[in-house]
């Protein structure tokens, strides 16, 4: 259990496109142990938070810094049950990434996580194909409800 230190690093800054390390937490084999998640966020703080939240629930997870990396990781063949998708990111934002993933036929649960309160932004995110939307910050309770929905969906 715990983080594979060799694969972990944080993006240099929210606005840079510097290479993003990936968190890779081994599954704890608990009730959420079979779920695999992808965190898509350019904020180092949110990367750490969401990774830790998932890790504590025994969810194997990777972190990428922007929508393009999220698309690329799927092109490489990786699959996830859950994608936590931020909106505002450099290179490719969450709305465009969601649209591309759905066009690729990706059926993962995509949860939009953002601090945007504007309705038209949320509507655009929903229209792109997210399954649900949560306002930041994500809490353990919110994440558990998302994971429970995935389990019941299976």
């Amino acid at each position: 259990m715990g983080i594979d230190a060799g694969m972990w690093k944080l993006a240099g800054s929210s606005s840079s496109s510097s290479t993003c390390r990936r968190f890779h937490a081994s599954s704890l084999g608990g009730s959420s142990g079979e779920v695999k998640a992808l965190v898509v966020d350019d904020s180092r703080i949110n990367q750490m938070l969401h990774h830790k939240l998932l890790d504590n629930l025994g969810v194997e997870n990777l972190v990428v810094c922007n929508g393009k990396e999220a698309v690329d990781i799927h092109v490489s063949g990786k699959q996830f049950d859950l994608i936590l998708m931020d909106i505002d990111m450099p290179v490719m934002n969450g709305i465009e990434a969601t649209r591309k993933l759905r066009d690729m036929g990706i059926r993962s649960v995509i949860t939009g996580i953002s601090s945007h309160t504007l309705d038209h932004v949320k509507q655009e995110f929903i229209a792109a194909g997210i399954d649900e939307y949560h306002e930041k910050p994500l809490t353990s309770a919110k994440l558990l409800s998302i994971l429970n929905k995935i389990k019941h969906k299976d």
């Binding site: 259990m1 929210s14 606005s15 904020s43 938070l49 830790k52 939240l53 910050p137 809490t139």
Partner: protein, 146 residues
Amino acid sequence: MDALQLRKQLSNYTAQLFDEGFLDEQFTQLQQLQDENNPNFVVEVVTLFFQDSERLLDELAKSLVQPEVDFKKVDAHVHQLKGSSSSIGAHRVQRSCISFRNCCNDRNVEGCLKSLQEVRHEYSLIKDKLETLFSLEQQLLGAPSE
């Protein structure tokens, strides 16, 4: 000061930060995420917040003295700062960002400059208080037990 006294001091100080609105429930969430695998989790996340905030505050200061202020850029920076302050539970910083964004929407340079001062002030306060909190925690770790 022994561990019991320090523990009481830490508890009172933490409660005060919540009572005075400096911190909110999200900070408690951060503390609950900390465990033996990541014993410095809160300090690490808050340190990132300090680094991000200082960078954003510098960017904002530069942006607001340009002859033609790019309000979209200013708003984007404030949005980021609001997001990160919300993520760690820095409630008063988050709140000051909300009024800053209103000034951006109104394209009000004077208002933005005033808001930047306010955000800097709130950031400086929370930085000082969190550093005090972490210092108390360190003292507690090293204190002799009762």
